[in-house]
Symmetry: C2
Subunit: 364 residues, 2 copies
């Protein structure tokens, strides 16, 4: 088991990464004095697979346990669902000392974190991410949010968890498509910050896709360290440091939105977004063509999409200008100077963006 | 005009207090660089009375202005209303640099502050309080919240405004009942922290009730200083310092809740709550009877209630145990040692609380 410390003064916390580490949870919880009553937000599938183990682990150490199931869909990330869950917590809360456990993937982590941030102006919560995407990215750093019909993540807070416990054992039963979605973010970390991780993926992608736990553990640990390092220097994305984590996300979010969050999952859209950002980087002479090729090849190897299907250019551009990463009417892209080196560029001419999106429409 | 600085490092802000100070607003806003587009949350009555002045003041200095009206009722402090307003902001937000102005009393301040805290994980907001209660208390300190059917203020955030501008001119047209409601909190400041303010009220209550602006300005300034001093030492109510601001609020909230927030407004319920807390203090030999008498006399003089009508003891006690100020099943009261001196006491026997509530039922 590895422990990564995310240092944010009084809001510091540990990220523990390992195989079969659930048994260590009660010790951490007691040391942190978060409360005696665990309110676990999860979905039915996760509860069925791993709920009993978590419940027994907690109960044996004297915690009370209550599960709250939310549907396994992005729609659960809504204000309405937040209200429903908060009302349930309020009814349950009499005389208790509640802390929240976000037990699931990105949707549950975002929802549970947001609920923890606003209930009684903030109660403690921990993250137990169960997908690769949540373990390498969304469970760390305290960005919580729910969606509005006007856009994703428009309502939320920066609110740090008190612990992140990433047990790679949960990943063994994930669907291949979810592993791939997580890998998109892993590739992102390689591109923006870690050439060694990028090479590791080029060489060992088969072990990862076969869910070899040692390979997964290496990846989760590496990505967690990178993310922790960035978040502790720029918690609220004010210093352009945390911004680099959005590599691939500007166009990626637009593609997700343009397809109504149906055709591509987050990781798949981010893969396409990274290719577009890479294309723009090449067009602006920031990288050579061979770097673009390496990136496209890795994305293809792990089974992520490299071409956009059945979405119009116009709908992507429209969605793009609604993204909350825009400052006023300016666009802002995270581009790259090479594997491991980023450069933030504003006001990229719309024609260049369009050309690079259009390239992704070409039949292979 | 007086400026009070609330020092919270990077979250510091000024509270400006004076008569006819709206004209200074654009200068402050520009210095603070909050954005170019003012989104003003208010109600129809306030907009009608003071909206044009605010609008012209801002527009003449180059700000764009959009008013959002919410109904003038506690019901506006809901998650549903927050969602509606946030959706309106999101639709309006394309290419803008929005900051929020909370322009009204406590309900609008709490709602607008909450919205500012969660929209895009936090955008800037300022408070322009228009009631005595909001000027002396709720506009300062960053406690924002909306209500649930399960209880008041159950959803919210600590989120500081960037400026509080308290123009006592707004108070000249307030209903007498609202002046009185604000005076309950003013009396509270006197009791917990400021014997001089308490004496001032004993002597000058008539000038205040007649809305003499110099008397109101003195009061708002004094209370703002006290509140700023407390908040900057205990922003998130973690050190038992900010807790003293809850004097009268434990029983007060229970009385409000037991009457379904209809019979008594907040200030009136707090007046009754202060009398109950004073009664408990006397019963525990923390104060002499003459102190209780002085407090009851002042409350009576300004026209606030000293007796509870048509609410059952049982419903008050039940509401009391749902209050979010309880830690587990323990109760916690802010009591007093004398005018200007507080003592926080936990686990007061229920019988003592009941006796003191019962005393307030007695016919005069």
């Amino acid at each position: 088991m590895h422990t990564i410390k995310l240092d944010l003064k009084e809001r510091s916390y540990s990220i523990i990464v390992g195989n079969n580490i659930m048994k260590f949870l009660p010790g951490y919880l007691k040391k942190l004095r978060l409360g005696s009553d665990a309110y676990i937000i999860t979905n039915a599938a996760i509860k069925k697979r791993f709920g009993t183990t978590l419940e027994n682990t907690l109960k044996q150490s004297g915690f009370s346990v209550r599960f709250k199931l939310v549907p396994d869909t992005e729609k659960s990330k809504s204000i309405e669902m937040s209200s429903k869950v908060i009302e349930d917590i309020a009814r349950y809360d009499l005389g208790r000392r509640i802390f929240i456990i976000a037990f699931g993937g990105g949707v549950i982590g975002d929802l549970a974190g947001f609920i923890a941030s606003v209930y009684k102006r903030g109660i403690p919560y921990i993250q137990i991410p169960t997908t690769l995407l949540a373990q390498v990215d969304s469970s760390i750093g305290g960005k919580t949010a729910v969606d509005l019909s006007e856009g994703k993540n428009l309502v939320g807070a920066f609110y740090q968890p008190r612990l992140v416990s990433s047990d790679v054992r949960f990943l063994a039963t994930l669907e291949q498509r979810q592993i791939r979605a997580g890998l998109a973010e892993v590739i992102k970390y390689g591109i923006i910050k870690d050439p060694q991780l990028f090479s590791f993926l080029e060489n060992k992608f088969n072990a990862v896709l076969a869910r070899k736990l040692s390979a997964l553990e290496f990846i989760v640990r590496r990505c967690s360290s990178i993310k922790a390092g960035i978040v502790q220097r720029d918690e609220r994305e004010e210093k352009r440091l945390r911004t680099i984590l959005n590599f691939g996300h500007t166009a990626g979010h637009a593609i997700e939105a343009a397809s109504n969050y149906k055709r591509y999952n987050h990781g798949e859209a981010i893969a396409l977004g990274m290719l577009i950002a890479t294309g723009i980087s090449e067009r602006l002479n920031l990288i050579e063509e061979k770097v673009s090729r390496r990136i496209e090849e890795l994305i293809k190897k792990v089974g992520l999409p490299t071409r956009i299907n059945r979405i119009s250019l116009e709908s992507i551009i429209n969605a793009h200008y609604r993204d909350k990463k825009f400052i006023g009417t300016k666009n802002r892209f995270v581009l790259i100077n090479g594997i491991g080196r980023t450069k933030i560029v504003e006001n990229i001419p719309l024609e260049i963006i369009k050309t690079e999106i259009r390239k992704r429409f070409t039949a292979i």
